[in-house]
């Protein structure tokens, strides 16, 4: 009886927050309600004696996946979901009609008597605990699919990085890299071919910096080190 009450409470929270995920205009609020839905679903898993899955639900879904969602929403700086236009209205209407058909189907399904199947044994699975039981099944009978999931995760990781990487020649979104030359000692070849007849330490003439960012030409070179021929000759 207590389990049924807990289930009903979590189910109410789940349905309401799921509806608010769909209906709310702000994507950030939708994401927060989705977190609430996942947490209440974890509670439902607990009442269904799937304790390991309940905790994994909180850790993976509400912890990892939703962090990714919220991060992307914040990164993209989305505005509210402004929707207008006849085509959009038609499509929304079709969506609501299809949803209503599904709900009617469910109501029809519930109103009939439907076979529930054999009742579950009253005792929960084993006395060793749900996590141990799941682990034993996972590492014996489902060992090969379990290893495949690691490959799936690896491929997804590489794929996500490759997709979101900016392409060559595509500078949108990345700041243009200014070569930072302030601390680089010029090589003798560079000094010989410098346009202003380059002596180390002398500032470039003003016309050389025409139209360029000022920080490209910081006229403070380091003193020549031991590798340069001037320093070797003076020693």
């Amino acid at each position: 009886m207590i389990a049924q009450a807990i289930f009903a409470a979590f189910a109410g929270v789940l349905v309401v927050s799921g509806l608010l995920v769909v209906l709310h205009k702000n994507p950030v609020t939708s994401a927060l309600f989705l977190i609430a839905a996942f947490c209440s679903l974890a509670g439902i898993y607990l009442t269904l004696h799937a304790e390991f899955l309940g905790l994994v639900q909180v850790i993976v879904y509400a912890g990892a996946i939703m962090v990714l969602f919220v991060f992307v929403i914040m990164y993209l700086n989305l505005k509210n979901d402004v929707e207008s236009g006849v085509q959009t209205a038609v499509r929304r209407g079709m969506g609501w009609i299809l949803g209503g058909v599904l709900v009617a189907e469910a109501v029809l399904f519930v109103s009939r008597r439907w076979s529930i199947g054999p009742p579950a044994p009253p005792e929960a699975l084993g006395a060793a605990g749900n996590t141990q039981a799941v682990g034993q099944v996972l590492y014996s009978r489902f060992l090969f699919p379990f290893e495949i999931t690691s490959m799936v995760l690896l491929v997804a990781m590489v794929g996500a990085i490759m997709i979101s990487k900016p392409r060559r020649g595509d500078t949108a979104g990345t700041p243009t890299q200014v070569p930072h030359r302030a601390n680089v000692t010029p090589t003798p070849a560079e000094l010989a071919t410098a346009p202003h007849g380059g002596v180390a330490g002398s500032p470039p003439p003003p016309h050389a910096v025409e139209g360029r960012p000022r920080e490209l030409y910081i006229p403070e070179f380091d003193p020549p080190d031991e590798r340069s021929p001037n320093a070797e000759g003076s020693r």
């Binding site: 994507p27 994994v56 995760l153 996500a160 900016p166």
Partner: protein
């Protein structure tokens, strides 16, 4: 003791909510969240039947579904970020490149 019909009905309601979200919304990220709702509805049905059959295979399947959902979210959000870079928008109506 919770009867089997309760989590199944809840799963159906959650799945319908997800479908309505996919069909009604235009924001690609919200559509993605609705897909997550539908995946969780399937997970709930798995857990309910695992409870009913007194078998752990359903719970192991839910574990695999969660793994695939994590991979899907990573790749899908990368695609959405790329879409945003291309068009400065995540509304799916802006992406009609296949229209003749």
């Amino acid at each position: 003791m919770i009867p089997l019909s309760w989590p199944l009905l809840l799963s159906a309601a959650l799945f319908t909510t997800g479908i309505v979200g996919v069909l009604v919304r235009r924001n690609a990220i919200v559509i993605f969240m609705s897909v997550e709702l539908m995946l969780n509805a399937g997970n709930l049905a798995f857990v309910a039947f695992a409870r009913q059959m007194n078998s752990l295979d359903g719970q192991v399947f839910v574990f695999f579904v969660m793994t695939v959902a994590a991979a899907e979210v990573a790749v899908g959000l990368a695609i959405i970020v790329n879409m945003f870079r291309l068009r400065e928008s995540v509304f799916v109506d802006e992406f009609n490149l296949l229209k003749g």
